[in-house]
């Protein structure tokens, strides 16, 4: 049984790798010329490829009846923060970057964030989507905080 679970996890992992490898390759092919000044359309195409990768990942979860693993969430957060940091540093350090690329990149990042929020809301509903991040409530030691009519969810 353990072997079966491990094999299922491995197969899902391989499928997720396949989806992101393809989407990431296309995104890289489109984003790099866009960052080199080829035009906003290239950047839009690159972000569309990333959105397609995210949609593919959600589809994998839906078909296999799984959800994002903690490692995947952690990797996504690290990459997003690194990209955001790079955007801020490039805006401060690279001449002309803020004028030509800041807004398109910010719009792309916003589109990705909106896609994630849309997924969370449609998957969990508005309240539970918020509760995913609501770690403060988990730290409330009072038993009353766990009652359903007081918003408890333990």
């Amino acid at each position: 049984m353990q072997d079966d679970d491990a094999e299922s996890r491995l197969e899902r992992h391989a499928l997720v790798v396949a989806v992101w490898l393809a989407a990431g390759a296309v995104a890289a092919l489109l984003l790099l010329p866009g960052l080199g000044g080829a035009g906003i359309a290239w950047l839009a195409g690159g972000f569309a490829a990333l959105l397609a990768g995210f949609a593919g990942h959600v589809l994998v979860n839906a078909i296999l009846g799984t959800s994002f693993t903690p490692r995947e969430v952690a990797l996504a957060l690290v990459l997003s923060l690194a990209a955001l940091l790079a955007l801020v540093l490039a805006t401060l350090a690279v001449d002309g970057f803020a004028r030509t690329l800041f807004l398109p990149l910010l719009a792309g990042a916003a589109a990705l964030a909106a896609a994630v929020v849309f997924y969370l809301v449609t998957r969990h509903g508005p309240r539970r989507a918020f509760e995913v991040f609501d770690v403060i409530r988990d730290n409330n030691p009072r038993a009353a905080s766990q009652l359903p009519h007081r918003g408890g969810r333990k």
Partner: protein, 631 residues
């Protein structure tokens, strides 16, 4: 671009090792089935992607593009032959899958040998598997290595590239066996398809000047770039006589589709289907990926890429694209390289594992423990990749000569597979007679037979593919004729009862619903009409059907070559045909639940004397064994 390309290749190789290491860690320790056939529980998505990828790669994508560059759209038409090839796969795949579950005939070799109770058939299928695993794979490996050497301006020598590639392909297979090889292929297949579309689009966007169809295909003078050169040409064959306007007449295209059937019915592809978990993956993979995506990509993109490449060929296109965008150039180079390497990996791994499980285990080393079976498979894989690299490095000409036999000989298995799947009256004698005659016809219309016969005896009046008919066509014509004729006299032979038991099990456990007589008639007749118009003599209408409509009395300003539109039109019509069989008749739908394992007592025929004697010589009398089944 060299550093970028090498980085990408190292990344892909590392990814393969990473996936294989995960498989090796999660596999059931000591279970040889987990290593040899993934426990017949490959995930459906992996079979879908890997099957499509192997088809795209097995058609030899760089070779196909070069052929389109040399002969134009008449060669591009060959890709349409994938539709009937996939139809043939759909016809037999589910029954083979069922035979594995119901009767325990768990590989194509075992299924055919066990069903027909024939050692000869077992050896024939294994020979075909070895032809795919060594000469065909070596040719593709040598082609990929040569391309890498050219693209890196000799920084990576051809020999080093061959050994590097072989080692990179060997590692996932030896670590994780069949499951790892298929998972890695599936990942690469999705990457290949995506990058193929992306780089073709980038070439159109980035490169200056017009592309196809404004720019003509760079065919040599005297070759028709956008037309089929006739229904047939009375040519003695390649090497003896030059066909006017090109060699791809409608008969050549039709018979080449039969050769492509050899690809879809190759032992490796059949093993992939048989070791896949039940579900809708066979149907989805056949209809939407193989007949849909792969065929469409080849038909639509090949002329675009070739026209952009011009007379200089694909390396020139890669360099030109890299000049505009290094990453795009490296991506196109990666597409061309992994297209060759995926088929190499698949055919070597599947062929070796088949030899181990269907020759070594039952005949030579029958008393191995599960752990030893896995060890012997790993040793066999090491030997196979070593021979592959040696063949590609030191004898590429021999590989090129013998690889020509792989597809047409594999296609000769079609009557035997049809017998196993549906036609219980096809007897062992009929199949063997057909195989002998068909193989002889293939051998004598391909380079190995021609070189051998003309070297030993006298010049033959025909060359390769006489009358512009592919050797697979000559072979199957003789093969089918012999099968029909011999079956008339032997259909009620002694072994009929044995064959009936499997067909009765099929009928009781998984009856195929082909519909009523009208629906059956429509399936046959529409398929024949489609084949006649898309690939057969009717395809000649495509030369001018859309540019000079028959009743218009003038020219239509279509802006596209009529033949290209004809190809795309019949590709779109071909998908519903495959869908009808795979989904409509349920030939692509499988379910593990509800299947009963039947007792399948194969009469234990003795090991043939010559095998026993050969084994006795090698092992000093210790190797005499009785086969596990079916010989």
């Amino acid at each position: 671009m060299t550093a970028l390309l090498l980085t990408l290749l190292v990344f892909l190789a590392s990814l393969g090792v990473y996936i294989a290491s995960l498989v090796a860690r999660t596999g059931k320790a000591g279970d040889p089935r987990g290593f040899l056939d993934a426990g017949a529980r490959l995930p459906g998505w992996a079979a879908i992607f890997a099957g499509g990828g192997v088809l795209l790669s097995g058609i030899d994508l760089p070779g196909h593009l070069a052929l389109v560059g040399r002969y134009g759209l008449q060669a591009g038409h060959l890709a349409l032959g994938l539709v009937p090839a996939v139809l043939a796969l759909v016809l037999v795949q589910k029954r083979l899958w069922l035979a594995a579950r119901i009767a325990g005939l768990s590989s194509p070799v075992e299924a055919l040998a066990g069903y027909y109770e024939s050692v000869t058939l077992r050896l024939f299928v294994l020979t075909v598997a070895v032809l795919f695993a060594l000469p065909l794979a070596a040719g593709m490996l040598a082609g990929a290595a040569g391309l890498l050497s050219v693209l890196t301006d000799g920084v990576v020598p051809r020999g080093a590239a061959i050994w590097g590639f072989a080692f990179a392909l060997f590692l996932p297979a030896v670590m994780g066996g069949w499951r790892a090889a298929v998972l890695v292929l599936a990942i690469e297949a999705l990457l290949l398809a995506t990058l193929l579309v992306a780089t073709a689009g980038l070439a159109e966007l980035l490169l200056p000047g017009p592309g196809f169809p404004q720019a003509a295909l760079p065919v040599p003078e005297g070759t028709l770039a956008d037309a089929i050169p006739g229904v047939a040409q009375y040519s003695a064959g390649i090497g003896k006589e030059t066909a006017q306007g090109g060699i791809f007449t409608t008969l050549a295209i039709l018979s080449d589709a039969l050769a492509l059937m050899g690809l879809t019915l190759s032992p490796g592809m059949l093993l992939l289907g048989m070791t896949t978990h039940g579900g809708r993956s066979l149907a989805f993979g056949s209809v939407w990926v193989m007949a849909g995506l792969v065929t469409g990509l080849l038909l639509a993109l090949a002329p675009l890429i070739v026209a952009r490449a011009g007379g200089g060929g694909l390396p020139v296109l890669v360099v030109a694209l890299a000049g505009e965008d290094p990453l795009a150039g490296a991506a196109l180079a990666l597409v061309l390289l992994i297209a060759g390497l995926m088929a190499t990996s698949f055919f070597v791994t599947s062929g070796t594992l088949l030899v181990v499980r269907d020759l070594v285990m039952p005949f030579i080393l029958p008393n191995l423990s599960p752990r030893d079976v896995r060890l012997s498979a790993r040793i066999a894989l090491a030997l196979a990749f070593l021979m592959l690299a040696m063949l590609a490095t030191f004898s590429p000409l021999a590989a090129a000569v013998f690889r020509s036999l792989a597809l047409p000989l594999s296609a000769q298995l079609f009557p035997a597979l049809l017998g196993l799947a549906f036609l219980r009256w096809i007897s062992r004698s009929a199949v063997l007679t057909g195989l002998v005659l068909g193989s002889l016809a293939v051998f004598m219309t391909e380079p190995p037979g021609l070189i051998l016969f003309e070297g030993l005896f006298l010049d033959l009046p025909w060359g390769r593919w006489p009358l512009t008919i592919h050797s697979a066509g000559w072979g199957l014509a003789l093969n089918l004729g012999a099968v029909l004729l011999v079956s008339i006299f032997t259909r009620k032979g002694d072994e009929r009862l044995h064959r009936d038991r499997l067909h009765d099990a099929f009928a009781t456990q998984a009856r195929v619903n082909l519909g009523g007589s009208a629906a059956r008639g429509a399936k046959w007749s529409l398929t024949l009409i489609w084949t006649f118009l898309a690939l057969g003599p009717g395809a000649i209408l495509g030369n001018s059907f859309f540019s000079q409509p028959i009743f218009a009395g003038g020219e239509a300003a279509l802006g596209l070559p009529s033949l290209w539109v004809w190809q795309l039109f019949f590709w779109l019509l071909g998908i519903p045909l495959v869908w009808w069989l795979a989904y409509g008749a349920g030939l692509g739908l499988t379910a593990e639940a509800g299947l009963r394992r039947e007792r399948w007592d194969v009469r234990a025929a003795p090991v043939p004397g010559w095998i026993a004697a050969a084994l006795a010589r090698v092992t000093g009398g210790c190797g005499r064994t009785s086969p596990k089944s079916g010989s």
